[in-house]
Symmetry: C2
Subunit: 374 residues, 2 copies
């Protein structure tokens, strides 16, 4: 007997976890338009516009700004495999899952990670970073996470970049959860390489990772002593397809429809304006925090370095956190996130990202939470 | 003054190049349904069904069968970085662009490729492969391309796999353009690792690469002496998310909507049946070949090993091949492919893949070509 497979009709969730966030219907509609070839002249124009919009979002004039055709973890890997060579020293700031993942990437490049560790839920301490920079004058790169999705902490990107330059290091910054939700100023802070994700504050579908590389980073990549260990992520090759100029050489088949979606999500961000988007994230965050306090729930992260788009909420004693999430999902079609790594079981993570960062979602989350907690 | 960005409305092309192929409206509709979380229980059920359908398409019982969250080039890299270690010898059959790319992957794994080269447009010669296997008894893997998209040649996968086993080699097979269009029999041929692409005969949107690994391959991966150089493509980690069993651990955020699309495209293939799909590809191919002959165009590849889904057509003398393609695109919204690498300027590549492999497309292509050639 032949198995029957039925069409998949997903439930209509409200996505308030750590991502993917709610995708705007406008983005979904853009994505399902007819596929064109990855070398079609109309698609190449779209690629150019997408690059310009990414430069806007990242606040950079870097010509090498484009989406990697894979999720944020691949964007992270693209930054490390292109900039790091075997034997290099890389200072990695760790105060959550994604800092750890950076260190793992350094090891896989046969380089040495110098770890600067701070407790999960607190900021990376710039003093410790400076000590590490002093202790390792041969370090080539300082790597850190701007918005730690696993904890809800904002690291001080501007200060860390200034330190890196003072000690002649390049910087790699994880901007997966920050881009579009809080200020990201690639050129102002002089970040050398950054990667983001489509599915956080851009509210696009998951699967793409915008990246940007400074001129210093490009020179370093061009002057490597060893080949980039990944063929798929080798920027020397990718630039032939995504780079400037008329002729686009085939490297891999771009995820055409996902680029439609990314373009549309960036178009929405551009129309709203970066500052307005940051302000909206801040305002909804305040409303959420106040509402949570009213039902007796405390935030896990100090307000001075708390992310508006990723809210870590302390699970009260004697509460089965998994059961609460399950009930929100089953009874309210509402997804919030569990704690990750060291914070598993201790916090919930409530995302207010992009399209999903709205009064409507805050109200719904507070009302649903308060119902299931009673 | 602020730049204005307008919605992108793609032209309605007929895609008869080397891929992406025409995507079924049914697949596009499935893709733009509401995004759910990548750990949502409903999504996890969809992952399981997608794996089962991929096992059907690959004709395998391999538990480790799943889509890589990136295009075919990343699927290729996933096979090489997981199976190859520094210092290994890998025999690579080259008779087109994608065999070359395989050799490039071997080099980036710090291993040694042993090249078995045949002229572009002809088959890999099993005798030469056997000589290489005899000359290199320490070779660990035999790698070859089943359907060379750059030339339109089908290599004899069954014979090559039999040789590999005879000489105690594992096999890596590129099935990017073959899967769904001609017979692919992973278990029957005892292929150890294979990768495909979503945008060829599956007629899904570009961006995903289905892969499958045999038990022998899994054991080899589990017993590596060195870590997999790619964190993103490390099957030891990916299996925690896509593997068997109840608990799914976060590795990266899956491209949720693209998986909706892949599932739908596989559902369509399953409903038609593999044999019926292969037959349809064969029938449309014959019709195309006959029609091309009638307008004086010859095939570049011998009929004994010609791919039905990728037709390399010789460009007649004194014809500007690029101008013909341009006119087809501009006047008929019809995309056919240029020659790639050594065949650039010498052939056109006409794809008949999946949903785009239809009488309607063959008729349209023949009529448009005959108009612009006159």
């Amino acid at each position: 007997m032949m198995t029957e497979y039925r069409p998949f009709v997903p439930p209509e969730r409200t996505l308030m976890g750590p991502g993917p966030s709610d995708v705007s219907p406008q983005v979904l509609n853009a994505m399902c338009r007819s596929t064109v070839g990855h070398l079609d002249p109309e698609f190449i124009k779209l690629m150019d516009d997408t690059k310009r919009l990414l430069q806007y979002a990242f606040q950079t004039a870097n010509p090498l700004t484009m989406p990697i055709s894979a999720p944020g973890s691949a964007g992270m890997e693209a930054c490390f495999v292109n900039l790091v060579e075997p034997g290099d020293k890389v200072i990695v700031c760790i105060n959550g899952v994604f800092g750890q993942r950076m260190a793992e990437n350094v090891v896989r490049c046969q380089a040495t990670p110098i770890l600067v560790e701070d407790p999960w839920g607190t900021q990376t301490d710039p003093d410790k970073v400076e000590q590490a920079l002093k202790a390792h004058p041969d370090a080539k790169i300082l790597a850190f996470v701007h918005a730690e999705t696993s904890t809800g902490v904002r690291n001080d990107a501007k200060a860390l970049c200034a330190l890196a330059r003072q000690y002649h290091c390049l910087t790699i910054m994880d901007a997966v959860t920050s881009l579009g939700g809080i200020e990201v100023d690639i050129d102002g802070w002089q970040v050398d390489a950054a990667y983001s994700g489509s599915q956080k504050c851009l509210s696009c579908v998951p699967g793409l990772s915008p990246v940007t590389f400074s001129q210093r980073a490009v020179e370093l990549i061009q002057n490597r002593k060893t080949p980039v260990q990944s063929w798929f992520l080798d920027m020397n090759l990718i630039v032939g397809y995504w780079g400037q100029g008329g002729k686009r050489a085939y490297h891999h088949t771009a995820p055409v429809n996902s680029i439609y979606a990314l373009y549309e999500s960036l178009r929405i961000l551009h129309a709203e304006g970066l500052a307005a988007s940051w302000q909206r994230h801040h305002r909804c965050h305040q409303k959420l925090v106040n509402g949570l306090a009213a039902i007796g729930l405390d935030m896990a992260v100090d307000e001075h370095y708390r992310l508006p788009q990723l809210n870590s909420v302390l699970v009260p004693e004697n509460i089965n956190e998994a059961e609460i999430r399950q009930r929100l999902l089953n009874e309210f079609n509402l997804e919030i996130g569990a704690g990750l790594g060291k914070l598993a079981g201790r916090v919930w993570r409530i995302g207010l990202m992009g399209y999903g960062c709205s009064d409507k979602n805050v109200d719904y989350c507070l009302s649903s939470l308060s119902t299931v907690m009673n």
